[in-house]
């Protein structure tokens, strides 16, 4: 997958993972692992950007005697997901046009 495209997708995937329920770093990676490859060093800047943008808020809590940072999505984060869905709808319409075998020859010719 194109690196820039993946970068954009990852942010929304992280937001979606947090939208379901308040989450933390390890859980986010575990939730996303079946769908998209994401490493710890990739996740950190994403979470930082989202926090700076106000898309998520954080709180620290003690878990088994150690500190854990929890992330919760905000209205800004939800709005970003909605915008992404709208973009994907548009993308799907365009890709349907490109992939339509009845328009301009067979798929094999592409």
């Amino acid at each position: 997958m194109d690196a820039q495209l993946k970068k954009g997708l990852l942010e929304v995937c992280v937001l979606k993972s947090i939208a379901r329920e308040e989450s933390y770093g390890y859980k986010i990676i575990s939730d996303l692992a079946p769908f998209i490859e994401i490493s710890e060093s990739t996740l950190y800047p994403i979470l930082k950007r989202l926090e700076t943008a106000g898309a998520v808020v954080t709180r620290n809590a003690i878990h088994n005697g150690r500190l854990r940072k929890y992330f919760r999505i905000t209205e800004i984060g939800l709005s970003r997901i909605r915008d992404f869905i709208d973009t994907m709808e548009e993308f799907r319409r365009i890709s349907d046009y490109i992939l339509d075998e009845n328009e301009g020859g067979d798929r094999d010719d592409l």
Partner: protein, 188 residues
């Protein structure tokens, strides 16, 4: 390699970043390490999943350039500060000096007006004294008139320059307040 050694190497690779950012990154990895350890992974497995400290640091720097300002960013900041100092020294300070000199001049004119008015009052009093001392009425009247003119003129100068100075100070204050407000709103 133990996790502590791995973390120490990561911290070394992050040198140059802000202290807060380094703490944030280390706390993040500590948390990840704790969760993976809880899930049953060994130190070696966890470190293998993290990647080498060099790889981690490079990936973080790549995706968050603000964490690790490059050499060019540092020079940009140095240049920005040099410009601010030059602006202050060659433009702002002379402008402030000119402004203060102008206000001081206006204030001096007020004092001049006061001096003229007081002088006029003095001449009026002198003319009255001359009258009682039997001086020629013409002389007394001339002196009296001169004194009154000086007093009136001085008062007018005083009042005129007082209001000019007041408006000058208020204008400077309004400009300064406007600049501060716009700076707070991020428009400047």
């Amino acid at each position: 390699m133990t996790y502590k050694e791995w973390e120490a190497q990561l911290e070394e690779r992050l040198r140059g970043a802000r202290r807060n950012d380094i703490s944030g990154i280390l706390n993040y990895y500590r948390e990840m390490y704790g969760d993976k350890h809880e899930a049953g992974l060994s130190d070696e497995e966890i470190i293998a999943e993290f990647g080498t400290p060099v790889e981690c640091a490079e990936r973080i720097k790549q995706d968050s350039p603000e964490i690790m300002p490059g050499v060019s960013d540092r020079w940009r900041k140095v240049f920005s500060w040099a410009m601010k100092i030059a602006l202050a020294v060659f433009i702002i300070i002379p402008m402030l000096g000119t402004l203060l000199t102008g206000i001081a001049t206006l204030a001096a004119c007020i004092l001049g007006g006061v001096a003229v008015a007081l002088g006029g009052v003095g001449v009026v009093i002198y003319s009255v004294v001359m009258l009682f001392m039997g001086s020629a009425i013409n002389t007394v009247l001339i002196l009296f008139g001169l004194g009154m003119a000086m007093a009136g003129g001085g008062a007018m100068i005083c009042i005129g320059f007082f209001f000019m100075t007041r408006y000058a100070i208020i204008s400077v204050q309004k400009i300064a307040n406007y600049y501060i407000e716009e700076k707070k709103r991020g428009r400047i």
